[in-house]
Symmetry: C2
Subunit: 193 residues, 2 copies
């Protein structure tokens, strides 16, 4: 996969993967260059804004990835309902934790958690959440959830998912993901007009 | 407040406050000693396990603080309901963001976000979430929520709150906190037998 990307894209992807594990402060630029197998000096070339720019683009990549996934989840559902979409969003994390262990979380959360006083990174994380929320809200509207309610439920779904991801990583157990999916299902499906 | 604590307690408290802002990797031991106004060398004396021990105790402090707050919130409610408890939990963060800005989040989340591969810290974060969840579940049971359901709803409340805190910090807006409180209220209050 990574080999087909341009060096610039590989660096953004690698930054996101390292930030998912070690946070922003724990991710060094040299580690990103090594992980991306990029030429030395390419970082300055592609990211004149330095680490802030790279981290911001990694957060934005995370938001775009999550938003695109929403469309794929909906397309794969036999019967698209809000509860089924949320179950699919959580299932992606269940699978990732099952195959990779619990070491890596959401890159957008990681960039907010230790970097909220950096306006470049913080704005990128906000954009990432907004893009993801917008994609979920659009999917809910296609399932006949009223316009304004769709935005609120998308915020609730992403909040509960992000919190459950963090609790699951702490516990090393997918239990919190299963709990939020089961508890929110009636609320989400009940919002369909 | 901080002046009344022992040097050891001040160091744990200071570590938690710095981790809330800068994450674990972004918090240096010297910064903790300076923030706590503790004597140099006291860190090695009180925390022979080094930074891991200090960070683990900071996460545990966060869990105890949150659990104790639950009792105080319930005691202050005119009519204790699950939805009113959740609103009070979120209101604490609304107020903190209003007075301090959005720079500091939950110390337990911060320790998981960039430190989940450190077993000492990760276990402490898990204990912190467990203690907090237990306190919320006990409060819900006192409000006549059935035994097993109380545990699930406590997990949902803490997941949604933690996620909304992160989204609020990214947006610099308390909107996500208000949204999860309003959306979860009927679900939470409907669980009372």
């Amino acid at each position: 996969m990574a080999e087909q990307r341009s060096p610039r894209d590989r660096m953004v992807f690698s930054a996101a993967q390292l930030i998912r594990r070690h946070g922003v402060a724990g991710t060094g630029l040299r580690d990103v260059v090594a992980h991306a197998e990029a030429p030395r000096g390419s970082l300055q070339h592609y990211f004149p804004g330095g680490k802030d720019q790279l981290v911001a683009e990694a957060a934005q990549w995370g938001g775009r990835y999550a938003a695109k996934r929403v469309e794929r989840f909906v397309a794969a559902l036999a019967e698209p309902t809000p509860g089924a979409l949320f179950a699919a969003m959580a299932a992606q994390w269940r699978e990732a934790f099952g195959t990779e262990g619990f070491v890596a979380g959401c890159p957008v959360v990681a960039s907010v958690a230790d970097c909220a006083d950096n306006s470049t990174v913080r704005r990128a994380a906000s954009d990432a959440f907004a893009g993801w929320t917008g994609a979920v809200a659009a999917a809910l509207r296609d399932m006949r959830v009223p316009y304004k309610r769709a935005e609120s439920l998308a915020t609730l779904m992403i909040s509960a998912l992000e919190g459950a991801i963090l609790m699951a990583r702490a516990e090393r157990d997918i239990r919190p993901l299963d709990v939020v999916v089961e508890e929110l299902r009636p609320l989400l499906d009940g919002a369909v007009r």
